[in-house]
Symmetry: C2
Subunit: 361 residues, 2 copies
């Protein structure tokens, strides 16, 4: 019960933010035109494999002497007119792609448009081995396993077939249709190093910026921030497992009825990078305080508990981590996707205030 006091004080005692020049932008419906100064896409990072032998143009399907570029990241960027100094890199979670930040499942604007309208340059990522960055250097098999009632729970829309009471999620049938179809699989094994190297390479190309992560991207997001000094802040939405601790300070694993959450040790010199940038972590609603035998619920009890331990360790080493458990801050009904929930403008306002407070806007 101490989280929200710490956090909310941290966010709101900056005080002047609500009366800042951005107040209108934060609350206006903002559905007019957007002036885009530049937009485009590119690949970055990755490796090249070469098959032994010599390429023979008369046998072009023989791999001999041929190359394979893979494990890169794909980014689509838009720079609005009068762009702010720091761009925002938006990194999807498990089973998702750049789509996660675009139009919401019920057809509203997602964080791509919302932050463009707030004059941030945005980079939407397909991480290595996902979406349009599908060339994986490691073989993968994709099986169409029916799993959506699991995701309905794991993403905390409810416990199938029931929606959580007051959940910030539209109940129209096409919304669920769009929601499930926003998923897209890994084209090769998920690899923390490969995906974090991809994002570090992106920051190497674009320069200083702000990193938004969702869920599975949380863990490799800490690694990317360690590997690139251009990551100047992290806004993490519901990071899952893979919290990073200094060697020797990893807390005891937290068992849940879904899995066991374990911290990941790194050398202290690496860890200290996380103490040098402002970080805010958001968790939504319907995370139980006590153990439960519903695995998709209990998973998040464990993750939130580990996130609190992690916050405390980073801050004990001089860091600046704010953990916002939204319902404790009076914001109820959020799912695992606060940035696309029905109240995503309100969530964007919290993020905007954080960025203003940390002088990142």
């Amino acid at each position: 019960m101490t989280d929200w006091k710490y956090v909310f004080a941290n966010l709101l005692l900056a005080g002047s933010i609500l009366s800042s020049a951005n107040a209108d932008a934060q609350t206006a419906p903002s559905l007019g035109p957007m002036v885009i100064q530049e937009q485009g896409s590119f690949a970055v990072g990755g490796t090249v494999a070469t098959a032994p032998g010599t390429f023979n143009p008369r046998r072009p399907l023989d791999p001999a002497g041929q190359t394979f570029h893979g494990d890169h990241l794909y980014a689509f960027y838009q720079r609005p007119a009068n762009a702010r100094r720091l761009p925002i890199v938006m990194w999807h979670g498990a089973g998702q792609s750049s789509k996660t930040w675009e139009t919401t499942a019920d057809g509203r604007e997602g964080f791509q448009n919302i932050f463009l309208r707030r004059n941030f340059t945005t980079y939407l990522v397909d991480q290595p081995r996902r979406g349009d960055a599908g060339r994986s250097t490691v073989e993968g098999t994709i099986r169409p396993t029916p799993d959506e009632q699991f995701w309905f729970g794991q993403f905390r829309v409810g416990v199938w077939p029931n929606y959580f009471e007051g959940v910030q999620f539209d109940r129209g049938p096409d919304t669920l249709n769009q929601y499930f179809r926003a998923m897209t699989p890994n084209t090769g094994p998920f690899d923390m190093d490969v995906v974090s190297n991809g994002v570090a390479a992106l920051f190497g190309r674009i320069g200083p910026g702000i990193l938004f992560t969702h869920s599975q991207a949380g863990g490799p997001g800490w690694l990317a921030a360690i590997r690139s000094p251009n990551v100047r802040a992290v806004v993490a939405f519901e990071p899952g497992s893979n919290f990073i601790f200094p060697q020797g300070e990893v807390p005891a694993p937290i068992p849940t009825s879904f899995d066991t959450i374990e911290g990941m040790p790194v050398p202290m010199s690496d860890f200290m990078a996380l103490t040098r940038i402002p970080i805010v972590v958001f968790y939504g609603d319907n995370i139980p305080a006590q153990p439960t035998d519903i695995p998709t619920q209990d998973a998040w009890r464990g993750r939130l508990e580990m996130a609190r331990l992690w916050r405390d360790v980073v801050n004990r080493h001089g860091g600046d981590v704010t953990l916002v458990h939204l319902p404790e801050a009076g914001i109820r009904g959020n799912t695992h996707f606060p940035f696309s929930d029905l109240n995503n403008i309100e969530i964007a306002d919290l993020v905007t205030r954080f960025l203003a407070e940390k002088k990142l806007d």
Copy 2:
């Protein structure tokens, strides 16, 4: 040698086009801001599979009673201010994604931006089982087979390691790096019906529009035009195999040193849909006139020959197909990707003139 006369006359004798109000837009470097009235993304089409049994929230990883939404198409759209009446749907080829129409490998603007600047609403597609539309209802295995020297040839940049003389392709090393990394694999088997149904569903949702296809999308593009009366024109860049003929009028297969090109029969009532819309087909340079033992060259000799037969059959049944073999029209050096080649503005101008001539703008 009759192609270009037919075509070029067809394109240029409209005459007034060059002096139209669009002339400036066609030739200006056009790198100022773009005013985007609306942008976003959605899934459309596809199917739902359901596993037998009853979902048990205490065993959420058991497929019993769970669903799987797959085989949909993903589209990212942008509507500029003062948008023209008909939007353009841009459909990538084999091993590609929506990226194909975005920034070129050497960093210039692709057809996404070029046609937005010409006031067309654009829809960029990831076809079912590709890119951000990766949930396939059929299992697939993705192997990292080195194959890029093959693609260098098949995409007619040259015959590895040599570029074609005068090829409209930048020779900087990072260009090839970006070019190869723009590829992304199928996440399930390529299926003509599945992908053409996806595009037909897209036109069902958005209403009348113009379809741009590239390469492998050519064949299913004809099917999509048959299946949706909202396809009001097709601009096909280097369609590969799968030209569609009336039953009983399929020409003899054309053998090449790469493969054998065969027409695909459909009932006459289906075929006739292709005679009711204007169609323009573009092929680039370095397509040999005579058989060769370089398979990546000979493949295109056969495809171009089949395209000419197809044009003649459609037009004999009252259709309006224009085939532009660019070098015969004096435009040299184009690869398999005319829309992203160094002269892609000139190619866009040809397309713009075609759309104007057909009163589609």
